[in-house]
């Protein structure tokens, strides 16, 4: 497995070899997994590196939990989903293939699918639909919004600011169509029925919304 073509693994091997050389020279320091890229952490987790797993958890637990909570609106279910996702990630790190794209996009896709499966399985959708469109932002029950950790709160706010701005910059009907699909797991047909709009209108809103999000993100990168 020396030449598997995986750049993350190659870099990890390189880091390990460098570490060994420094160790022989008596200059080695413990590598800090918190500084590694997502792909390097996943490559290390594939070799059962518990520190790497801890670092990855610290990096993404809040995001996975928040996304689950946004879909499920139940702190306990969101906690269960987060636990399930990270345990699977530890047990089957091969499910993420670095050639598949960005780790964070993959993780968000896994999180969203896991949470949507949960609401479908529990038949919670109908109950939440009855609660109306505008009441979906706040979950039921107590959740910690970093009241005791201002540093993490500031970091989370910074992370969110740009993407939130992009989404909030969309016309309301486009944002609603995207959120109904992504956070409620509704298909286009179901969204059309819910909003009493033609299917073609819903498809157009999703298409335009994604186009604008894409343009907005590209603008931020340049």
């Amino acid at each position: 497995m020396n030449g598997d073509g995986n750049p993350a693994r190659a870099r990890l091997r390189s880091l390990n070899e460098t570490h060994l050389e420094l160790e022989e020279a008596g200059l080695a320091q413990e590598p800090d997994p918190a500084q590694w890229s997502d792909e390097e952490l996943m490559a290390a987790i594939a070799h059962h590196d518990e520190q790497a797993f801890g670092a990855l958890y610290d990096r993404y637990a809040d995001l996975v939990y928040s996304t689950s909570l946004r879909v499920l609106h139940d702190p306990q279910l969101a906690e269960d989903a987060t636990q399930d996702i990270f345990v699977r990630l530890w047990e089957r790190p091969g499910a993420f293939v670095s050639a598949r794209g960005r780790f964070m996009s993959w993780l968000m896709s896994v999180t969203r699918n896991r949470a949507v499966d949960e609401i479908r399985a529990r038949g919670r959708r109908q109950r939440r639909e009855a609660s109306g469109l505008e009441s979906t932002d706040e979950p039921v029950g107590h959740v910690d919004r970093f009241e005791n950790d201002p540093l993490r709160a500031a970091q989370a706010q910074e992370d969110q600011q740009s993407v939130r701005g992009a989404l909030e910059g969309l016309p309301r009907e486009q944002r609603v169509a995207l959120e109904l699909a992504y956070f409620r797991g509704l298909t286009q047909q179901e969204i059309a029925a819910k909003l009493h709009e033609p299917l073609g209108t819903v498809k157009t809103r999703i298409r335009l919304g994604m186009q604008k999000l894409r343009s907005s993100l590209e603008g931020q990168q340049h």
Binding site: A61, S105, S109, R120
Partner: protein
């Protein structure tokens, strides 16, 4: 890509709809399978997933409960449960036991109550109609319970199917996997098949589409050939759309087998391990396990 099938490559619009999860399940499955074989379309999907991830990131940020990290570590087998967790587990077990006791007590009370109703029925004929009403309500509750059970079963099946689809996609994209050419035979009637050997997991997948519906006493049987003998691996169970996903662990790999074949067998023939029926698919050359 046509509305109900795949004619070419995935469009940007379809990739976006796939990434936000707004497609109907059948179209979503077709795109998943197509992307597994098409690097160009995979790239389009990844780019759309990057955009869709920003929707997730826009969710109000909450702190994961601090205790969760330790729970994850215990569940993953990294950390053994501490005394407090043993205490919590004991507490949970005690709570369940208490609930069972309460249920038994309630049941006993219910039986007793029915006995009293029987006495009253003998004393007062007027109460008989009330008891009949109660019985009717009980039947309705039983009926509702049955419907809930059926709905739960359907939901569990859906979840299981979604989980299998995700595992299949991971298998298709696993660099250790190999795909074998599958030939559709005369009795396949336009069906398509694909065999994937997942080397590192030791798993054989067989996916089929557009399988013709069979009478209730017949089934699609997957075999592997070993020196002229056909060894049954299992049956393919197509859903309403004719799609079947089969997976099986083969600890010793595929090296001992010359080819694989799918036939239509009657239930008796399938159980008797004899290949008698017409061929649907042929896999003339199986992937070899690496030394």
């Amino acid at each position: 890509m046509a509305r109900n099938g795949i004619d070419g490559h995935i469009t940007r619009e379809q990739a976006d709809e796939y990434a936000v999860g707004s497609l109907e399940p059948e179209m979503e499955r077709l795109i998943t399978l197509h992307a597994a074989d098409c690097a160009r379309c995979r790239e389009i999907l990844f780019e759309s997933e990057d955009v869709a991830a920003t929707i997730a990131m826009s969710a109000p940020r909450h702190q994961a409960p601090p205790r969760l990290k330790n729970k994850v570590a215990v569940e993953a087998g990294i950390t053994r449960p501490g005394p407090m967790q043993y205490f919590v587990r004991f507490g949970q077990a005690a709570a369940i036991f208490a609930a069972v006791l309460v249920s038994v007590a309630a049941l006993t009370g219910m039986v007793s109550m029915r006995g009293q109703v029987q006495d009253l029925r003998e004393q007062n004929a007027g109460l008989q109609s009330e008891v009949r009403d109660l019985s009717s309500q009980e039947v309705q509750i039983l009926d509702l319970n049955m419907r809930v059970s059926e709905a739960e079963q359907r939901a569990a099946e859906f979840e299981e199917s979604a989980e299998r689809d995700r595992e299949l996609l991971a298998a298709m994209m696993n660099p250790e996997s190999e795909t074998a050419e599958v030939v559709t035979m005369e009795h396949g009637e336009g069906a398509q098949g694909r065999l994937i050997w997942e080397e590192d997991e030791g798993r054989l997948w067989f996916v089929a589409h557009k399988l013709p519906e069979l009478p209730g006493d017949q089934a699609y049987q997957l075999w592997v050939e070993d020196g002229g003998d056909y060894i049954p691996l299992g049956t393919l169970r197509p859903d309403d759309s004719g799609t079947a996903t089969f997976v099986r662990n083969l600890a010793n790999g595929l090296s001992g087998y010359a080819q694989a074949i799918v036939t239509v067998e009657s239930r008796e023939a399938g159980h008797a391990y004899e290949r008698r029926g017409d061929s649907v698919f042929l896999v003339p050359s199986l992937p070899r396990s690496r030394e």
